[in-house]
């Protein structure tokens, strides 16, 4: 376990922020594709649903990085690496899986 310091908190914060933002982005794909109202709201608010998706994902990333840097205890490098791999693989499987399963409807 790494000791608490501003830089170690930042490292943990960034990885936790990424973990939550990657899962949020995958979740938002399913939610907006299954709920026309959500997709329309994103398009109406941000001019295009994809821009809204990107803005919200970045906002979640930066906010959760700040929150996690403040409140999460520093983790080992191994745990942080596992978190990065897990978040990316889940994000990939949910997004590709969703569109493959819903082809040709989408």
């Amino acid at each position: 376990m790494a000791e608490r310091s501003v830089k170690n908190n930042l490292i943990t914060g960034l990885v936790v922020g990424f973990l939550i933002a990657a899962l949020f982005s995958a979740f938002l794909v399913v939610v907006k594709e299954e709920n026309k109202g959500v997709k329309d709201w994103l398009a109406g608010t941000f001019t295009h649903h994809w821009i809204g998706h990107g803005v919200l994902t970045l906002v979640v990333f930066f906010m959760m990085t700040l929150v996690a840097a403040k409140y999460c205890p520093p983790s080992s490098e191994k745990m942080l690496s596992i978190a990065i791999w897990a978040a990316t693989i889940i994000n990939l499987l949910v997004i590709i899986g969703y569109y493959v399963l819903h082809f040709p409807a989408k």
Partner: protein, 162 residues
């Protein structure tokens, strides 16, 4: 600026920056694998990588929201509709993950600082760089499939008699 120049610039610049991003990514991967001797070099490479991915993202995003709807309609009516329904849908959303990874990379390199020269942080950076490089290859592959889907769609739509 004419529409055709816009299209050439946006599509070309998007692919160009995406490809250029591989240079600092692979360079930094090798540096981390061999053991970082200069933190300044690592910071510069990570910043360059992040900048290239952001430029690819902005150019591609602008192309996507401005012009892609034409290709989308043609692809969906063409012989390879999955090029949009799976290829483009996956690409436009997976890109956010690569964007996040490349955005946080310089901050992580900065946060580890001189500790990188002692090997600390190398596992985490290696994981991220491998994911960025594999992700970049997936983006290139999907981009190629989408282009082929559009080309096939336009060929069917506008047949030319010999």
């Amino acid at each position: 600026m004419s529409v055709s120049t816009d299209i050439l610039l946006a599509a070309g610049v998007h692919a160009f920056f995406g490809l250029v991003a591989f240079i600092p990514a692979i360079w930094l991967l090798v540096e981390v694998k061999r053991g970082i001797s200069s933190v300044k070099t690592a910071v510069s490479l990570s910043l360059l990588l992040s900048l290239m991915v952001w430029l690819a993202f902005l150019a591609g995003g602008w192309w996507y929201v401005t012009y892609y709807h034409n290709d989308k309609a043609v692809i969906k009516e063409g012989p390879l509709p999955w090029a949009h329904s799976i290829g483009m849908e996956a690409k436009e959303h997976l890109f956010f993950t690569g964007l996040l990874l490349s955005t946080m990379l310089p901050a992580l390199v900065y946060a580890y600082g001189e500790r990188l020269t002692k090997g600390e942080g190398s596992k985490l950076l290696l994981s991220m760089l491998i994911l960025i490089i594999i992700g970049g290859m997936v983006m290139e592959l999907l981009g190629g499939l989408i282009s082929i889907g559009a080309k096939a769609g336009w060929m069917v739509k506008v047949p030319v008699e010999e």
